[in-house]
């Protein structure tokens, strides 16, 4: 498609203007409001015991959910791209469920299953209103990313390289580590970055199952909400800025990965 110079500029202004209005200005205001009263106040606000606990809980949950979803995601992508089995279409649809269902509904469903009187309510340790529940909710909502990133890459590279490896003496395991994984590594990395961003930012499902006990089951997003509700606007902005920084960091990591996907 050829576009003349003037409409090209118009298109750019439109695109950037849209992004600015909806994304950059709100985030900019968050940062502006945060540092309005100096960096000292911000530092105090994000180093309260509640804030440190929320920060470390968010990172812990992410550190459990993302590796699990990465392993499961790669296995699932292999099954979807290579396997021939009954119920493949069903599996394919189920993987997208977390995209389709509202996180709040996910949280409620977890309470129905693991809460008092639920199917699995009699476990020896507490799930709902505790860390395991938060982990489960976070895993659920971040399932699709790795699968959705890796499946098309696997389909595109085909299985001829793996066949070649097997004729050269490689076992399945060797061919997975030496051929398949290096070929899909950028897809995996991209999926991991998206999962991390999603896990850190999750609010709805976690909000329902966490119980919001300050210093115990309060994640960063929940802390932001609580401070906002308590009219501690400066504290809410400071915590938001911290969240935004982590998210920006992961996205920057992604853009570093992105250009290299071409030669993957």
């Amino acid at each position: 498609m050829t576009v003349d110079r003037r409409s090209r500029i118009l298109l750019r202004v439109l695109g950037l203007g849209y992004l600015a209005l909806l994304l950059l200005i709100p985030i900019g205001i968050v940062f502006y409001r945060t540092f309005e009263h100096g960096a000292g106040a911000v530092y105090d606000s994000v180093t309260t015991p509640a804030a440190i606990s929320a920060f470390s809980l968010t990172l812990t949950v992410t550190a459990i959910a993302v590796p699990l979803n990465t392993v499961f995601g790669v296995l699932c992508a292999l099954a979807l791209a290579r396997g021939r089995f009954r119920g493949k279409a069903l599996l394919n649809a189920i993987i997208d469920l977390p995209f389709a269902i509202s996180p709040v509904v996910v949280g409620l469903a977890l309470i129905l299953v693991f809460g008092r009187g639920g199917w699995l309510g009699g476990l020896p340790f507490q799930v709902i209103f505790s860390v395991p529940g938060i982990v489960l909710a976070t895993i659920f909502i971040s399932v699709p990313f790795v699968v959705r990133e890796v499946t098309p890459v696997l389909k595109e590279i085909g299985d001829e390289q793996e066949q070649a490896a097997s004729t050269l003496g490689a076992s399945r395991w060797q061919s997975f580590w030496r051929i398949t994984l290096p070929s899909i590594r950028w897809g995996v990395a991209y999926g991991v970055v998206l999962s991390v961003a999603r896990c850190i930012g999750e609010f709805g499902a976690v909000s329902v199952v966490s119980g919001k006990i300050s210093g115990e089951t309060e994640t960063l997003t929940l802390l932001v909400e609580k401070r906002f509700q308590n009219f501690d606007l400066a504290g809410a902005y400071a915590a938001s800025a911290l969240l935004a920084l982590i998210a920006l960091g992961t996205l920057l990591a992604m853009t570093r990965i992105n250009p290299r996907r071409d030669d993957a």
Partner: protein, 325 residues
């Protein structure tokens, strides 16, 4: 020797191989030749262990290999689309099989250098496959397959994705390589010229069965049936026999066994001339004569000639011969 015993393979409704048996002698270069869908690639992949036969057995060098996975068959396999390991350099591609076998590093290094020299890629060690041409990638794939010192080298349409000139060069090169290395080689191709040019034996396949096995000359001169005859070269139909166009001689006068014909068209091919004839006013046949012969006979559209076979009929066909697709 590789022995294929009564192998059958179906993909759903489609019967790819229908009770195929074949023996491939040690040290030979054998071609599996046939049109697409004839089952030749499936047979090669079954020999490699990349597919499992539904029934039947595969023997490699006297031991049953039917249930062995590909990595334990002692084979080298070359794919039509190279199957290069894209994330590895040429050196690592060729070294792959030796690294899997945990051979010592200096030995791997020496062998890679030697093989890249043999396939004409010396100095390309640190390139990646996407920096090589198609012909170079395929030679790298050959070096990679040869690196593990296979007992059997299997090539699946190895030159099919290359342009005509490179294809002709590479097949000459493969033949010379085979004469040096002497590894038992099986080559799948749909190109009868390629099969004739480089192989010791050819197995002609159609519809999942082997139609005939023999040397290039034997197949050309003594084809078992109309399919083999028409797949290996041009044919003319003369009554109920098939003959090669160059086995028809033309004359201006009647002689014993000659039939009258009228010239419908003269096509100049260079050294030879193809003459399209109308026999008895209705049967169309084509004959191939040299340019000098055509000039001597003063062949032109509408000229009357006498047609005679110069060789005994190779194949009798009660019905029109099936033509390859």
């Amino acid at each position: 020797m590789i022995a294929v015993r009564d192998v059958t393979k179906s993909f759903g409704e489609f019967v790819a191989l229908d009770g195929v048996s074949l023996e491939i002698p040690d040290g030979s270069l054998t071609a599996l030749l046939g049109p697409s869908g004839s089952g030749k690639s499936t047979l090669l992949r079954i020999i490699a262990g990349l597919e499992q036969p539904d029934t039947g057995a595969i023997e490699i060098h006297g031991s049953d290999a039917t249930r062995l996975p590909p990595q334990r068959r002692g084979i080298g396999f070359v794919f039509q689309h190279y199957a290069a390991f894209k994330h590895m350099t040429v050196r690592d591609n060729v070294a792959f099989g030796m690294k899997i076998r945990k051979q010592p590093k200096d030995r791997i290094r020496a062998r890679v250098d030697e093989l890249l020299g043999v396939v004409g890629l010396a100095g390309y060690h640190e390139r990646y496959p996407n920096q090589l041409s198609g012909g170079q990638r395929q030679r790298m794939a050959l070096a990679r397959a040869l690196a593990v010192e296979p007992k059997v080298l299997l090539l699946d349409e190895p030159f099919g994705a290359l342009d005509a000139k490179v294809r002709a060069e590479l097949r000459e090169w493969l033949r010379r390589l085979h004469d040096e290395v002497h590894v038992t080689t099986v080559l799948v191709t749909h190109d009868q010229e390629e099969a004739m040019a480089i192989s010791d034996h050819i197995a002609v396949m159609d519809h999942g069965s082997i139609e005939q096995v023999g040397g290039p000359r034997e197949l050309y001169d003594e084809p078992a049936n109309g399919f083999v005859m028409s797949f290996l070269g041009p044919v003319s139909r003369l009554g109920d026999v098939l003959v090669r166009p160059h086995d028809l001689s033309l004359a201006n006068e009647a002689s014993d066994g000659a039939r009258p014909a009228r010239v419908a068209r003269v096509v100049h091919l260079g050294f030879e001339v193809r003459v399209e004839l109308l026999l008895d006013g209705r049967e169309r046949v084509s004959a191939q004569v040299t340019r000098d012969e055509a000039e001597r006979l003063e062949l032109g559209e509408g000229a009357a000639v006498w047609v005679r076979q110069t060789r005994a009929p190779a194949v009798r066909v009660p019905e029109p011969a099936s033509t390859p697709t």
